[in-house]
Amino acid sequence: MDSTTLTALKITLHCASLATFLVMIPGTWIAYVLARRDFPGKNILSAIVGLPLVLPPTAVGYLLLQLLSTEGLLGQNRLGFDLNILLTWKAVTLACAVMSLPLVIRTARVAFEGVDPRLESMARTLGHSRIKTFFCYTLPLAFRGIFAALILGFTRALGEFGATVTIAGNIPGKTQTLASAIFTAQQVGNQTEAYFLLGIALIIGFVAILVSEYLSQRQTQ
């Protein structure tokens, strides 16, 4: 295994973990709001946060690119300073986070919907505020499902390719991830390298899905 492969693996794990961490709180919160509250425009919010799941990842990447370009909403000319994201590991993380957010929200929403709202009412009548009810009753009861959601989000981030390549490029040793390394290996015809990377991707993905399935099943029982 050469050092660029190792770096690609490191960058992948690093960026995917960071992306999962970034998505954790907003994802859980949006999932809770979608599961428990009724408000005008709920379906629209639900559709918007679900979009990255159905759009071509390159389209999402292109949108992010527009946002972050010099003239974009988050670009240098608007903000007055350069966020310095494009073509760095930050861009990899951002692409991973945006692409895994909808998956986290969907899965966590199901977890919250699986908690009987009457249990929350009981907690309220026993003297607990809404916030305390959320942290001491809703969250522990939905915990397995939320954990499963984060694992799914993490695996989605690990495999992210389209959006990442669009805004972070495929720079070996800098922004090349497992997914883009496989693509490069295939392009240059390096079969050994491709098989090796494929093996790693298989193992991580398989374990993650297994754990996530196990956790979701335990919650529904």
Partner: protein
């Protein structure tokens, strides 16, 4: 136990799917029952009182504390209402064991300056929960769950206990086992209670005052026995009919049956009942369904039924095609209610003041453990 400080004043209007809930009552007795068929608005009423329905209009006040006044924009959150809620299905917290469930509302009891351990120990003693404390929720039987749910509500130091058909999710045998616990709670805890029920046995054995709801409106109110035999209310009990509930004393234990005595003075009235394991001279509640009693104008012979009692007809009420007859066994025993068809009533020429024989099968009688009320 009339006490102005704990009178619940309720005036609530709430839109429901099929009709509007619109009730206005003051509950000052210890236990007030709310009776009605399912879908009559009972649960919605309890949830509104608990603060779990926010769209209601009206006022709500316990003693001097105003919980809710829609016109003046007052809405106390459920966690600030000092309510214990016992739901139909227990709704225990599955991520906590029995003890943690019981203590879930302990913070409020503490905040109110009550000593949690005192309440906790008392609740455990009254509901006999000691052996369950370390069990996880999914190992409990239906009856045990309801006892824990009751205990959890009581441990939070409530000023008002709301019970939403606490026995409805249990099978008949289990109900008989849990009902005595409800009676113990009623007798041991000085907390006002609202009991929603569609069981004539529950409301008669637990309530001092009964409100009947139909399509969201109060149609009758008063002493449970009188209200339940009212022609407008009786049909609501549907197949359950009316249950005669009397206190009695176990006087003799035969090999296959028990004998109980009704009334305290005067000539003893004995009834043979199915055998239950208990000591002599203990008091019980006996329940006899009104439609299981046969009326005869002459003393019959050669019957398998174990009990033939002499009685005098006090009144006859018409309820649809049926007649509700009240008959007196003795002056110190509450009158029995008997349900017969209009045809039977006519053929036997039953009328007020007529002497008759009441025939009751032993197996029609159910004995409930009774708590001495002292």
């Amino acid at each position: 136990m009339r006490n102005e400080n704990t009178t619940l004043k309720t005036h609530i209007r709430l839109q429901l799917d099929r009709f509007d809930l619109d009730v206005n009552f003051e509950a000052s007795e210890h236990v007030t029952g709310i009776f009605g068929v399912s879908g009559s608005g009972k649960t919605s009423l309890l949830e509104t009182i608990a603060g779990l329905r926010q769209k209601a209009k009206g006022t709500l006040q316990l003693g001097k504390t105003i919980w809710f006044d829609s016109e003046n924009g007052i809405f106390k959150k459920p966690e600030h209402r000092d309510i214990g809620f016992v739901p139909q299905a227990g709704l225990l917290f599955p991520h906590k064991n029995v003890k943690a469930n019981l203590l879930a509302g302990g913070i409020r009891a503490k905040r109110k300056g009550q000593t949690l351990t005192d309440i906790f120990d008392h609740v455990i003693y009254i509901l006999n929960l000691e052996s369950l404390l370390l069990r996880s929720i999914d190992t409990l039987s239906g009856g045990e769950r309801q006892r824990v749910a009751l205990g959890r509500a009581l441990c939070s130091g409530p000023r008002l206990l709301l019970m939403d058909e606490p026995l409805a999710s249990l099978d008949v045998g289990m109900r008989h086992k849990v009902l005595p616990f409800l009676r113990r709670v009623r007798n041991e805890f000085d907390v006002k209670m609202l009991l929603v029920s569609h069981s004539p046995i529950e409301v008669q054995t637990l309530c001092d005052d009964l409100i009947v709801l139909q399509e969201g409106k109060i149609i009758r109110r008063g002493e449970p026995r009188t209200v339940l035999t009212d022609p407008a209310v009786f049909p609501l009990a549907q197949h359950q009919g009316f249950e005669n509930i009397l206190s009695c004393l176990l006087v003799d234990r035969g090999p296959h049956t028990n004998i109980i005595r009704l009334g305290k003075e005067g000539p003893p009235i004995h009834i043979t009942t199915p055998k239950i394991n208990s000591k002599r001279n203990e008091t019980f509640l006996i329940s006899i369904p009104a439609h299981d009693i046969i009326i005869a104008t002459q003393n019959p012979a050669g019957l398998s039924a174990r009990n033939i009692l002499q009685a005098k007809i006090q009144s006859i009420q018409t309820v649809g095609n049926m007649r509700l007859i009240t008959a007196r066994l003795a002056n110190d025993v509450p009158d029995l209610v008997i349900e017969v068809t209009a045809d039977a009533c006519e053929e036997l020429k039953l009328e007020q003041g007529k002497s008759v024989y009441l025939i009751i099968k032993a197996v029609s009688c159910t004995l409930y453990e009774n708590e001495r009320e002292d």
